[in-house]
Amino acid sequence: MTVSFRPITLKIAGQTHHVQAAPGRRLSEVLREELNLRSVKVGCDAGDCGACTVLIDGAQNCACLTPVAQVNGCEIETLETAEAGLSKRLQDSFLAHGAAQCGICTPGVMMAATELLREKAHPTRVQVEEALGGVLCRCTGYVKIISAVMGANETPVTIETPAAGQAVGAAIARLDGQRKVDGSELFGADSVQADALLVRAVRSPFFSAEFTFGDLDAWAADMPGVEAVLTAKDIKGINAFGVIPPLADQPALASGPTRFLGEPVALVVGVADRIEALDFATFPVTWRERPSVVTQGAGMQDGAPQVHETRADNTLIRGRVATGDPDAALAGSQHVATGQFETSYVEHAYIEPEAGRAWLDGDVLVIEACTQAPVMDLDDTAKVLGLPRDRVRIIPTAAGGGFGAKLDLSVQPLLGLAVLRTGRPCRMVFSRNESMRASTKRHPGTMQASIGADAQGRITGMAFHGDFNTGAYASWGPTVATRVPVHASGPYRTPTYRATSRAVHTNGPSSGAFRGFGVPQAAITQELLYDELALKCGMDRLEFRQLNALRDGDTTPCGQTIKGVGMEECLDALTPHWARAQAEADAFNATSETLKRGLGVASCWYGCGNTALPNPSTIRFGITPEGAVRLHQGATDIGQGSNTVITQIAADALGIAVDAIEIIGPDTALTPDCGKTSASRQTFITGKAAELSGRALRADILRMTNLEDAEEIILNGAILSVRQGDQAREIDLSALPVGEFGYVLRAEETYDPPTSTLDENGQGTPYAVYGYGAQIAEVEVDLKLGTTRVVHITAAHDVGRAINPVLATGQIEGGIAQGLGLALMEEFIPGRTENLHDYLIPTIGDMPDVTSVLIEKPDPEGPMGAKGLGEHVLIPTAPAILNAIRDASGARVTKVPALPHRVLAAIEAAK
């Protein structure tokens, strides 16, 4: 049946549009699907995230909450159609300040800012916060957004345009930045073929349930528009995927009892508007709920329901690192601090729910979706679908945030099943609820530790054990179980040590990778006990850490001797800030009874790359006969900036200006494997591969020109000019034989960091490079309400070499925002908080002032001395805040998030 609607008139950029749409349709859908205004992003369909913010008659509104009938005759402005002058100034300001990372929230942020800037050309910070309070950003920590909006009508900030060889260290604008700030960036839900079918998943309504299907064919035949219904029986390959192949256990569609709430059991594929409107209550499936466990405590109990028959005691894996005799050391210590700490499930809450599309290109299945790991997606999707690798191609779209959860498969195998069955292009877009149910989480942990110190305050030993809720499927549980014991000492000299971990299966969502892989949880345990120890030793808390900090040439609890350690430098950089913060807190507290200020400090270290496992990256770098320089860059940029940083490194290694380089990919058909965007490995590992490729290409050029070195390499069309002193050479590229991939000059280099496997006591070389950092938190605690406001964070991070300082500080600010959320508000409760109003992430009003200090202690292994940074930045924030809460109020909070009721209870307990 065809439904016709009275046309609705929208005025957009001076033009009148008449759209045929259901009057109750969300304006966001009409703008995106009917008018192709795809800068309007959909993050929640509930008014919680503000990504769809548009101006209606000049006022900001969530397009997702606006039935199109209510704007009949109204003027609508989106980022693509907003007034050019102000929009251009805002875009330039966002680029110059580095205010867009992944870019998914950027259009909404900019529309809210547009309204503000029309009324107040030079707004204050408070005015910016009030105007932008309804748009969530998960990447930036809002700091640069505030600066960019405040500065939009000021004298433009100059963006550096470094000469050849000067790119590394320059704060150039993101190379993929323009499309993020003008709204043309395409994310997983943004590309649509006109005839694409829509795929939706039928999901388990219980934490665990058996199920049987009724007559699926009859149901499908009855439902207009339904083209196919698929279940596990339709899976031709191996119905078990997972990021760690030997432990792959997750079905694309459950075949037996479901193991978590929201696990998919069937797909319904068909005509988009019909499928969108389907009520799955009629879907012929019968559920029988089974007993389930959702917490690590329940999962470990005797007689607990077993999540996987093959994994006894619900134990996925255990981890261990041990050296010396910590029990004896603790027994002989002058001071010992002991405690138990608990952390919650934390949701990644990227603003872009998982989405993508797929189609057949000949007999190759092409899947274009948001991801952090295209090659892993390819391997696992091919395996599930029973296709050879060369029949699957993965093209990552821009990822609207990832933070670890887009390392695991989401829409990919489901889209593949639908396309292979129907032969038609298909798309799938998770709702916010689906995204929060189906995606991985940060592991909740229950951790106990004892740490000892001698009379002088030197650490004598540490014993640690953590039980982690790894949820229904393996995902990255083994990585967390391994990383935690390696890092639980913190970046401190710990002569005797035993750290063990256990990953416990439950029927909660699978816990996977989330910025720090369990290290942020362990750091809470260690850093809170360090404060206790410092107090027991009668030492200043910063000095206590300075005394014990790892130094160049020290040996870690894994027995690894480490070089390029900038831990001491980070703590030393904080010293003046610590004194200032202390003085300010003292002054404040002298006159304030109910509000009390306190400060806390915590450190981090974090190994970059896979733990004791190979994880190579390969970069291809070529020059065409026409003189185009192309960098095949397979690392997915999820907002952190690898497109830019890796190109900067490659440019300097080759010795050519960065803007002369064209970036290809990522695309599994066009780019070699650069591994996954995780473990803070891209700047280090792919960056190193880029450096090696650049140097190899340069060596080829020098060889061809017979020069020792080159001061200048310049491309002018097909003529490559090289100059060294008074010697100049030219290569006519068009005269050279064209080789593989269409290049006349080409280098392809692989780098895999030198690590070794760990023995049963975790002894070995887990990582080739570590990064270090420390942060001071200054907080204000309300002693009667238990509320905490973070006033200021000072962050010193040793990045080895700041390839791009603006991107680096952007990582720091964003990590702090997520650390603040972990500390104060983020608690994912399965079945209860699968939306962005019950699950709270920091808004623009929650961010403190941030002072970033970049320490550059070169790493001997990293590219041009660089270390990873992406995850490090989150680790110290929560323990620093918790230590500051104790300093301010006496509250020893042992469970995060430190919600007001928990803080108040701890304040009362301390009285």
């Binding site: 309070g133 309804g134 709702s431 009667k784 608690e827 929650d846």
Partner: protein, 286 residues
């Protein structure tokens, strides 16, 4: 289902009431709750959109008091020039979600959605607000406190439209204040919230109205506390708030935002602070 979604947007109350004859129809306005509660891209079912009815929007002096139309948005309220007794309502409006929500969300929607955490309710309770319910059989007025019967439950019958809120002249005196306690800055559902209106003559409280929301199935007035405040001087007021008196009015629950014990403890503290802020702002309305 696609075929049965029906969307009516009449331009007069009379037409709206006529449409309301259909059973199962839902009345919608700003849609900030309705569209947040569905994953559909279209508002499902048969809906009656009352935002096309001009006379339902706006704030006006009427005989005997002040009338706020049903589809008056939070932004309308925030921007309006209102007496100091409505300052709490304006402050509450500024904390409804964020600007995007304030621009769409309406007063009637906030009341009819009947969330225990509805930001608009405590500031209206201290104004002795009455709701105006229209049907073909006429218009009736009912105290807001009677209208709200429980979480998601109101006294509105299926054939009625909430057309406005009436505030009697007698409750328009004094200055009011509002505080909201939540775990983050913007876009937050409250753990507890408090509204207070004090009418002070010669430094002595002559009239007091206090209410607390998010600490029970519906927001509630605190009659015993109000009685204790009457006759107090401003400096005495805060000391007259006893934790037990406040708690006697509340029946909070544990939820994801806080536990019940915390709500009981902090509600009294929040009330003391709101009174003291209200006292500081006496004579200096927003």
């Amino acid at each position: 289902m696609l075929d049965v979604d029906t969307y009516d947007r009449p331009h007069s109350l009379k037409d709206a009431l006529a449409i309301l004859g259909d059973p199962g129809i839902r009345i919608i306005a700003g849609c900030t709750d309705v569209l947040a509660a569905t994953e559909r891209k279209v508002i499902p079912g048969h809906v009656l959109d009352i935002t096309g009815i001009p006379e339902l929007r706006g704030i006006a002096q009427v005989p005997g008091g002040l009338r706020l139309g049903a589809t008056t948005t939070w932004s309308d309220i925030i921007k309006a020039n209102l007496p100091p007794s409505l300052r709490a309502l304006q402050l509450a409006g500024r904390q409804v979600g964020a600007v995007q929500i304030q621009n769409r969300g309406t007063l009637a929607g906030n009341l009819c959605n009947a969330s225990p955490a509805a930001d608009g309710v405590p500031p209206l309770l201290i104004l002795d607000a009455e709701v105006e319910l229209a049907s073909f059989s006429g218009v009736r007025r009912m105290a807001l406190s009677d209208f709200l019967q429980g979480p998601r439950q109101t006294a509105r019958t299926d054939d009625e439209i909430l057309t406005g809120v009436f505030i009697p002249e007698a409750a328009l005196g004094g200055t009011s204040h509002f505080s909201k306690l939540g775990a983050r800055d913007f876009l937050v559902i409250s753990i507890a919230m408090v509204a207070v209106r004090l009418d002070v003559v010669d430094g002595v409280i002559r009239q007091a109205a206090c209410s607390i929301g998010s600490c029970g199935p519906v927001a509630t007035r605190l009659g015993n506390v109000e009685n204790a405040l009457i006759g107090a001087t401003l400096p005495q007021a805060v000391d007259r708030i006893a934790d037990a008196d406040v708690a006697a009015n509340l029946s909070p629950i544990d939820d994801v935002r806080a536990d019940a014990g915390y709500r009981l403890k902090t509600a009294a503290e929040l009330l003391r602070r709101t009174i003291s802020q209200s006292v500081t702002s006496q004579g200096a309305p927003a």
